[in-house]
């Protein structure tokens, strides 16, 4: 194919032909999906709600304005001497599609699926996570995919479980990464908010039990695949409209069975887990930690589902531009207020923790242990209390594992957790995810024409700390960002 090639400039760059071929085969996000609106944003980029379009030849409702960037550089187009009307361009989008046969793989999304992509049908809804492209001044450049992007692609591509958000496909376009995930209508944070702000009632205990059980199922799956999540928090745990829990955001997760490089787990990421959900061994500076850090976070989430607010709501000590990580005194204090200070027999290994001395000197911590009273205000199940205390075990070696937690008798109470949907038997209807139509500076991903775009609505009134590596690691970020 493409026999006639302008050889003059091509001689200089052997990648010329390759690039042209690849670019031609590349499918674009906006040819495949219609953006319905904006969901949320973070330092990593933005998340959009989108719907899978029918194959272009059979429809005409696609937005023509969005494909304003041809996928093929003009030089390549000239080199391949492809007639202009065969290429998607702003003016010809719909009309040219109707001329191309459906079976042309370049125009039919279903036919250019990769091995490992998940099948989907027209009208299916997805959440598209767009990683922020790198910029040099105002010009987009390639500066390498970030470590968290690489992790998320690697792990989501490999792992498949009912309680993990499924990755449908990854699309690379215009120097940005788009990850297309299954859409989940709710998340733990939104469910908690609905109960605390709107209905002002506790979460029904069967729902709570199933939420936690499915969360543990997902985490057990991750752990048995040698993956630590390291950023479990209500906002990252989604629930779809069928009432199935879906763990999301594997950007901080990592495989740990491989021979670890110098520094072990600590080497790569200095700070992990959002502050309120951070396990004591992490606060005390453990360089080698285990899957138990995820179980502590689950304990915190469990408590938050019961109380409808975070149980250890400490203030994060920020780094003052110094290289040394600060001791999270306030967070440790908040934990001790509820659990009481650490006793030697509860955690013999604490004396070996790097920050043990800082911990001692930053005391004294209040003595009373209000956890039993705290719990009695919210539930009367003694099994439920037992599970909570075992998740809040100081000593990571004694803390329940996900597998042990799943076998806890509490899950058998009140009819157990056999129901597939966490909402089964509950009369509460949760609000759907808020989707806004502002394009927020990213003209390409706008769901409305600019004239109709509204100013941005705040997505949540409550301030929440961001994931660990995105805030506290800011100075270190340059290093890990490749």
């Amino acid at each position: 194919m493409a026999a006639a090639m302008a050889s003059g400039s091509a001689m200089l760059d052997p990648m010329h032909y390759y690039r042209a071929k690849r670019d031609r085969e590349r499918r674009t996000v906006l040819k495949t999906y219609k953006i319905l609106g904006f969901i949320s944003s973070g330092t990593y980029g933005r998340v959009y709600k989108a719907v899978l379009l029918p194959s272009p030849s059979s429809s005409s409702n696609t937005k023509s304005s969005s494909t304003n960037k041809s996928t093929l550089p003009s030089s390549a187009r000239a080199a391949l001497s492809i007639p202009k009307d065969k290429l998607p361009s702003p003016t010809t989008s719909t009309s040219s599609y109707s001329n191309t046969p459906i079976l042309d793989p370049l125009n039919n999304p279903e036919l250019c699926m990769r091995p490992g992509d998940l099948p989907a049908k027209e009208g299916d809804v997805f959440a598209i996570k767009k990683f922020k492209p790198d910029k040099e001044g105002d010009v987009l450049t390639y500066a390498g995919i970030s470590q968290s992007g690489a992790r998320e692609i690697m792990l989501n591509r490999e792992l498949n479980h009912r309680n993990l958000t499924a990755l449908r496909e990854v699309i690379l376009e215009d120097k940005a990464i788009y990850m297309v995930f299954e859409y989940a209508e709710h998340d733990f944070l939104q469910i908690i908010h609905h109960h605390s702000q709107t209905t002002r009632t506790p979460i029904p205990s069967p729902t709570l039990r199933r939420l936690l059980h499915q969360l543990l199922c997902g985490v057990h799956f991750l752990h048995s695949n040698f993956v630590l999540h390291r950023d479990l928090k209500p906002a990252n745990i989604l629930v779809n409209s069928a009432g199935v829990v879906k763990i999301g955001d594997l950007g901080l997760a990592r495989l740990w069975h491989k021979p670890l490089a110098q520094g072990g787990l600590f080497g790569g990421d200095k700070v992990v887990v959002t502050i309120w959900y951070r396990a004591p061994e992490l606060i005390l500076g453990a360089k080698h930690y285990t899957a138990a850090v995820d179980l502590w976070a689950i304990g915190c989430i469990y408590a938050e589902l019961l109380a409808l607010r975070p149980i250890f709501k400490g203030d994060e000590a920020k780094m003052d531009g110094k290289k040394q990580l600060p001791f999270q005194r306030d967070q440790m204090g908040k934990i001790c207020e509820v659990l009481g200070p650490v006793k030697a027999d509860q955690w013999p290994g604490i004396v070996h923790m790097p920050e043990y001395k800082t911990y001692l000197s930053s005391g004294p911590y209040p003595n009373p242990n209000p956890l039993p009273t705290w719990y009695q205000h919210r539930s009367s199940s003694s099994q439920g209390y037992d599970l909570l205390t075992r998740l809040f075990e100081w000593d990571p070696a004694r803390r329940l594992t996900a597998r042990e937690a799943l076998a806890h008798p509490w899950f058998q109470e009140e009819g157990g957790v056999a129901a597939k949907s966490v909402f089964e038997g509950s009369t509460i209807t949760y609000p759907t995810r808020r989707v806004t139509h502002e394009d927020n500076g990213d003209a390409k991903m706008g769901s409305l024409p600019p004239s109709m775009a509204q100013p941005r609505l705040p997505s949540s009134s409550n301030f929440r700390p961001a994931s660990a590596n995105l805030t506290a690691q800011q100075p270190a970020r340059k290093k890990t960002r490749m």
């Binding site: 493409a2 032909y17 390759y18 990769r114 091995p115 490992g116 390639y142 048995s224 495989l255 670890l260």
Partner: protein, 468 residues
């Protein structure tokens, strides 16, 4: 899945067959001979290794980069790409995947240094070019980034690392012993209490509870264990799925196997066979090499597999053979196998596949030797090479002949340039003109291979295999 090879993307999407491997190389084979292409792969692997070393990467990320590179060229042709840019991108991505990231700028600058050594001028020393290549690379890898290397399989097979390492805080034996100890203590407590109540002596806890009488009690405890706990215990131990104590291989053999695995990244075996086959092949070759050495020393001429008197001298490492026997005894399992043949036959696998893989690995050494004589590559010099040389019995005359038709790194670099240039010319010409040129060129080069092939016997094997 990242815990099971059988459900991984590696197994499901990236094991291919030799015919499809050949098809993927058709375009390149229009511009070079199969042997030259084989040498080019050695050349590129060498460059990946050098670049990785300069970036202070360990063997696993380097190995991952090699596999990425091989997978990329299942879909593309060397002559239509810039292989140096591709290999730098492979190293860059592999470093991230294996959690030892390096900065894009250091990849570019170190790559420049490495490529300068080989007089390679084609590499664009710009980080945005590398970043762009990363995108293309990820796409061509279908975003499948988790790779199962045979190193882990090797450690499991040889009993160095339990299959579940890391998942459990202690080994099976430790766990078993701890539980037994606990039970023993509990029993002792119970005994003591009952004795005390029998004697109705006012309680005054005796300090350490009589270690002397322990031995007498042990039997009773064990019996009770068997009654109450055995079923549970077996279930627990089986649930661990550990390979501890299954096999034990001498340290020297393990070392050689490990080196052989390092070398396999110059071949195509990682695209063709699952990692455990590759690992067992390496162990097999290592056994053969060591037993041949033993034979030479003892001037003993028995067949190679039967003479598996393992040298148990240098086991300074983790688990000497005695612990393995102990493990098996403590867990009530049979003796570990005590000959190499028995050891290998313990794995239930298809021998045809195993031998095909072994053949593929052995083929490498003579071709590699002709490409880069061992004196030049010192870091990789080891037993295996020496041995193939000896067994091939290369005479001085043959060596001279080889020098005449030398195809080394320099020639490889020139060939890559030529291939790319020719391909571009062919792509630029009208169809017919291009085809003519190709056919002319390929007849020329074919004649060359024939000469090359006759020099060493095993390159002949390589060619035959490649033609299949």
């Amino acid at each position: 899945m990242s815990s099971s090879f059988w459900s991984s993307s590696h197994c499901l999407h990236w094991l291919t067959t030799r015919p499809s491997l050949l098809i993927s190389r058709q375009v390149d084979l229009q511009y070079c001979t199969p042997k030259q292409l084989y040498c080019l792969n050695i050349f590129f692997t060498q460059l990946i290794q050098k670049l990785g070393k300069r970036l202070l990467l360990r063997q696993i990320p380097i190995a991952t980069a090699c596999v990425f590179f091989k997978r990329f060229y299942l879909k593309n042709s060397i002559c239509e790409t810039n292989p140096y840019l591709v290999l730098a991108a492979c190293v860059f991505v592999a470093a991230k995947v294996e959690e030892t990231p390096v900065h894009i700028k250091s990849v570019v600058s170190e790559a420049k240094v490495v490529f300068n050594e080989y007089n390679i001028k084609m590499f664009p020393a710009e980080s945005n070019k590398l970043g762009e290549m990363e995108f293309y690379l990820l796409e061509d890898l279908d975003f499948h980034l988790v790779i199962f290397h045979p190193y882990r399989a090797l450690l499991h097979i040889t009993g160095r690392e339990p299959a579940d390492s890391g998942k459990f805080p202690m080994s099976r034996v430790e766990e078993d012993q701890m539980l037994k100890k606990k039970e023993l203590e509990a029993k002792k407590k119970r005994d003591e209490e009952s004795r005390k109540s029998n004697l109705s002596v006012p309680t005054r806890p005796s300090p350490s509870p009589l270690p002397a009488t322990n031995h007498g009690n042990e039997k009773d405890v064990d019996e009770i264990d068997e009654d109450e706990r055995e079923a549970k215990r077996i279930r627990r131990l089986m649930g661990r799925g550990s390979t501890e104590g299954i096999g034990e291989v001498d340290e020297g053999v393990l070392q050689i196997s490990w080196f052989i695995l390092n070398d396999t990244y110059r071949t195509d075996v990682h695209l063709l066979y699952p990692p455990y086959i590759i690992a067992i092949s390496a162990v097999y070759i290592a056994f053969c090499l060591t037993s041949m050495n033993n034979n030479n020393n003892n001037s003993n001429n028995s067949s190679s597999t039967a003479s598996s008197t393992r040298t148990r001298t240098s086991s300074s490492q983790v688990q000497p053979i005695s612990t393995s026997i102990n493990t098996n005894q403590q867990l009530g399992l049979g003796q570990p196998p005590n000959s190499a043949a028995e050891f290998l036959s313990g794995f239930q696998l298809n021998l045809n596949i195993l031998f095909a893989c072994i053949q593929d690995i052995i083929c490498l050494y003579s071709i590699w030797e002709s490409f880069e004589p061992a004196t030049i590559r010192q870091q990789t010099k080891h037993l295996a090479n020496n041995h193939t040389n000896q067994s091939l019995g290369i005479t001085g005359e043959e060596k001279k002949e080889k020098e005449k038709e030398k195809f080394g790194p320099e020639e490889a670099e020139a060939l890559v340039r030529k291939m790319i240039e020719s391909r571009m010319i062919d792509m630029g010409h009208p169809n017919n003109a291009g085809l003519n040129q190709i056919s002319k060129r390929s007849t020329n080069t074919n004649a060359n291979i024939m000469d090359n092939a006759s020099t060493t016997s095993s390159s002949g094997i390589g060619k035959k295999r490649a033609r299949k």
